[in-house]
């Protein structure tokens, strides 16, 4: 298993796409957090820190895409063939990807959320906006950012293994996060469940930041992370079962 995780680590390090995704996410988060903390009035009872750091949730979106690419690129470039020839039992192959990308996701989530906090807090302080948050809760948000990003990467690996097609996976994931969930959230009654238990709501809950809409009822950090982990596990189990069963015919 260690050998497979090492191989995945080499791929992660040497593939430009992942570097570009990470840099793109960091740039967007930094710019978004800086602009928001400089300009927002934080009316309506929203906690300024939790509201601003919600933007660091982009790290989870990018990790989800990176995890999906980890699997779909193997099919797109047909490198899955050599991978399966080296490791005929296909489940460890997927497990190694999950391990490598979950670890990378954790590190990236901590970095992205930590960087967002490092930008937001001084800016808010300079504007004399009371943050209403102590060190312990801030640490919880950063840790939650790490955990949620790691889980998002794992979910991406599972979704990639289920769908396989690269464009199809990315469009499905982005469509779900940014179109389907926000729209479904407006359905009376049922919409509140989507706001809480949809991927966006769970990510916000796990990071302890403000959800969408800001009035959304979210689970606590630990329960949200557990439900998120259950989603990721469900996709991974389905992906592993399909990977075992499917022919690799081209």
């Amino acid at each position: 298993m260690t050998r497979l995780i090492r191989a995945e680590a080499v791929k992660l390090r040497n593939t430009r796409t992942y570097r570009l995704l990470a840099l793109g996410a960091l740039a967007l988060i930094a710019a978004g957090v800086a602009a928001t903390s400089l300009t927002t009035s934080y009316a309506g009872g929203m906690n300024p820190v939790r509201g601003t750091l919600a933007l660091a949730g982009l790290a989870q979106t990018f990790a989800l895409i990176a995890g999906a690419l980890a699997v779909t690129a193997e099919f797109r470039h047909k490198t899955i063939t050599q991978a399966v020839l080296i490791t005929p039992r296909r489940t460890p192959l997927l497990a190694a990807k999950v391990a490598a990308f979950t670890a990378a996701g954790l590190a990236f989530g901590l970095l992205a959320t930590g960087a967002a906090a490092a930008i937001a807090l001084p800016v808010l302080a300079s504007r004399h906006v009371a943050s209403h948050i102590d060190g312990v809760h801030l640490a919880g948000i950063v840790a939650g950012g790490g955990v949620a990003t790691a889980l998002a990467a794992a979910l991406g690996v599972g979704a990639g293994a289920v769908i396989r097609n690269q464009a199809g996976t990315v469009v499905t994931v982005l469509g779900l996060l940014y179109v389907a969930e926000p729209l479904l959230g407006f359905i009376p009654h049922a919409g509140t469940a989507v706001q809480t238990y949809g991927l966006g709501g769970l990510a916000s809950g796990a990071t302890g930041t403000t959800g969408f809409p800001a009035s959304a009822h979210l689970l606590g950090q630990v329960p949200a992370a557990l439900v998120f982990a259950a989603y990721a596990l469900a996709f991974l189990v389905a992906g592993a079962a399909l990977l075992r069963r499917r022919d690799i015919a081209a």
């Binding site: 040497n14 047909k78 490198t79 063939t81 020839l85 039992r89 022919d247 690799i248």
Partner: protein, 280 residues
């Protein structure tokens, strides 16, 4: 022993009995090569009664043949004959509907060290375009627990040392074939399965490939190689397996199939039901 297929249209020469090449032993002369110290009893590759459908399409039907050590076996057939399906079934990539495909007496997934037993080149395009040739091999080496330095040795062996640090996306088809061959050789396997390895190679590359395959067979390795380039096959292989429409139509040593007055091409076209070479 399998019965002779009904599609055979060649005149009966000495093909009346299907002869598994491993039963013949090494041929005398320069192609016989150095036999391994202890010749294995099992054939390197054994395909028996293999069948596979994709939906309504029959890809392979009741296909049987064997491949022995120390020899290069040409695997021939028209486009869509089922060659790639057979090779993929052999390597555990697709699940046959019936029959068995064994390597060194075992299913691929049952091999103790699959990558060290059989090396395969199935698709020269199977490389991430953003990775350098060196990175590609190093990833495989890490996963297969092969010393990473062997990747550099093999890049030199296949003539890619100068291009090792270039992204594979910029490689020509010939360069990708060479990289694929290096990947196949990474585990130092005794058995090689190569699908159209000569595609995209220039004349120097084809000569290089022929010499490489001959030298690998001379070391006692078993090589199963599919190809459409019959003139090249005739110069490279010891044995020939011909399939058509997913069925076996001939298996014999090359000199028994193509003798004086009939080239491998003539025999192949007759065996595959198109003696005039008309487009189908």
């Amino acid at each position: 022993m399998a019965t002779w297929p009904t599609r055979r249209r060649v005149p009966v020469r000495d093909l009346g009995v299907m002869i598994a090449p491993h039963e013949l032993g090494p041929r005398p002369g320069p192609r016989a090569g150095a036999a391994p110290n202890r010749p294995p009893v099992l054939p390197a590759i054994e395909v028996a009664g293999l069948s596979k459908r994709f939906g309504p399409a029959v890809a392979v039907h009741d296909l049987s043949f064997t491949v022995s050590y120390g020899r290069v076996t040409g695997f021939l057939g028209p486009n869509g004959a089922g060659k790639t399906t057979t090779l993929r079934a052999l390597l555990g990539l697709i699940r046959p509907d019936a029959g068995r495909a064994l390597i060194a007496g075992r299913r691929y997934a049952g091999l103790a060290s699959p990558f060290g037993t059989v090396g395969a080149l199935l698709d020269a395009g199977a490389v991430h375009p953003g990775h350098t040739g060196r990175d590609h091999l190093r990833v495989l080496a890490r996963a297969a627990v092969v010393p990473v330095g062997r990747a550099d040795d093999l890049l030199a062996k296949v003539g890619l040392a100068a291009a090792a640090r270039q992204r594979a996306g910029g490689y020509s088809l010939g360069m990708r074939q060479r990289l694929g061959l290096a990947a196949a050789l990474l585990g130092d396997p005794r058995i090689l399965v190569l699908d159209e390895p000569a595609n995209g190679l220039d004349p120097q590359g084809i000569r290089w490939l022929r010499d490489l395959l001959r030298s690998l067979a001379a070391e006692g390795r078993s090589i199963l190689v599919s190809s459409h380039i019959l003139a090249e096959v005739a110069q490279t292989v010891d044995d020939v397996v011909v399939i058509s429409g997913g069925r076996s139509v001939a298996q014999a040593p090359l000199e028994q199939l193509a003798g004086p007055g009939s080239s491998l091409e003539d025999v192949y076209l007759e065996l595959t039901g198109n003696p005039n070479g008309d487009p189908s």
